[in-house]
Symmetry: C2
Subunit: 167 residues, 2 copies
C-alpha cells in the first residue's frame, strides 16, 4: 500500500537516521569494523509506528535506547538494508536534505554488499563518504584516526570470497 | 497529491503537536483565553518539510522556537484549523495514539468555531477535554485553577453573536 509507504517515509524524515559507524576490530583485516544501520526513534510511550514499520518490512528489531527514554527500531543486517530498506527509500524518497544522507548510505551499503570494503582503496573511499553524513552527529573516532591505522587489507580475490560472510 | 498528504501525516506523527492552552485574559468574558494550535518542529538546519507543509496548506507560519534550537511551523487561526488542518488529518489519519489527541483537538476547535466556548458549560467541557490531551506535556495552569476562576460567561444569544470575532 503506497499510502502507508509514503507515511513511513514522512515519519522517517523526522525521526529516522542513516548511520555508518566504525569500530576498531582485531577480527577485521583492515583493523576496523564498518557498521551501517538504519534506525528510527520514538518516545517509549508511543511505539505503534515502530511496530508498524517492523511488521511491514519484516526485518529489524525494536529496543530501548540507553541514551534517552526512547525506543529505537533498527536494521543492522546489510542483507536486509540492501533487500528492504534501501529499495523503500528509492521508491518513496525523503523530501528533505536527509535524502542526501540516504543516497550516501546506499552507496556505502552496496560497496559492503559486494565485499569491496575489505580492500584498502574502497574502504578509504567508503570512510570518506561516511564522514560527510549526519554532520551534526558525534563520532568516537576521527577520519584521520581510522585512515591512519588501516591494516593491509585483502587482495581482490580474497575480498570476493569473503562477501559470503555478510550478515 | 495523496502521496504527499500521507507523507505529511507520517512526518506529523513524529514531530507534530495538537495543543490547546489557556491564558488568563481580562478581555475575555470568562477570564480565560483558549488558544488551540497545531505545530510541527524541526532542527533549524533542515526546514524543508515545514516549508513544504506551509506551501501546500497555504496557511500558518514558520518561526524559531525560543525553547530550543528548532524551527516551528504553526497554525493558530481557528478558521484555518477548521478549514485546512482538521480536514487533512480526517482524510489522512495519524496511525499512532496521537490520533486520539487530534480527535479531541478537532472537537475543541469545532466548539470554538460555533462560539459555544463563550458559555460556561461548554467552556468547562472543552477545558476537561483539553486536559486529557498530551499527558506528558507541562501546563502553566491546572484545570482546577481555570475552572475555579471562571467569569459569568455570555448568554446563548450573545455567544452566538460573538462567533464573528473569530480569527
Amino acid at each position: 500500500m503506497s499510502a502507508l509507504a509514503s507515511y513511513i517515509s514522512g515519519y522517517v524524515d523526522g525521526e529516522g537516521c542513516f548511520c555508518v559507524s566504525f569500530q576498531p576490530s582485531v577480527r577485521h583485516c583492515l583493523g576496523w569494523e564498518i557498521r551501517p544501520s538504519f534506525s528510527v526513534s520514538q518516545n517509549a510511550d508511543r511505539s505503534e509506528i515502530l511496530e508498524l514499520i517492523r511488521d511491514k518490512w519484516k526485518c529489524g528489531s525494536i529496543r530501548p535506547d540507553r541514551s534517552d527514554k526512547t525506543l529505537k527500531f533498527e536494521v543492522r543486517s546489510v542483507t536486509e538494508l540492501l533487500r528492504v530498506v534501501i529499495p523503500h527509500f528509492e521508491a518513496f524518497p525523503l523530501l528533505s536534505t536527509k535524502q542526501r544522507d540516504f543516497e550516501r548510505f546506499a552507496v556505502i551499503c552496496r560497496i559492503i554488499g559486494r565485499g569491496a570494503h575489505l580492500r584498502r582503496g574502497e574502504f578509504k573511499k567508503l570512510a570518506r563518504i561516511a564522514f560527510t553524513m549526519n554532520p551534526s552527529g558525534r563520532r568516537k573516532y576521527s577520519l584521520e584516526e581510522i585512515l591512519g591505522s588501516l591494516g593491509s587489507g585483502k587482495t581482490l580475490a580474497a575480498a570476493a570470497l569473503s562477501t559470503e560472510d555478510l550478515a
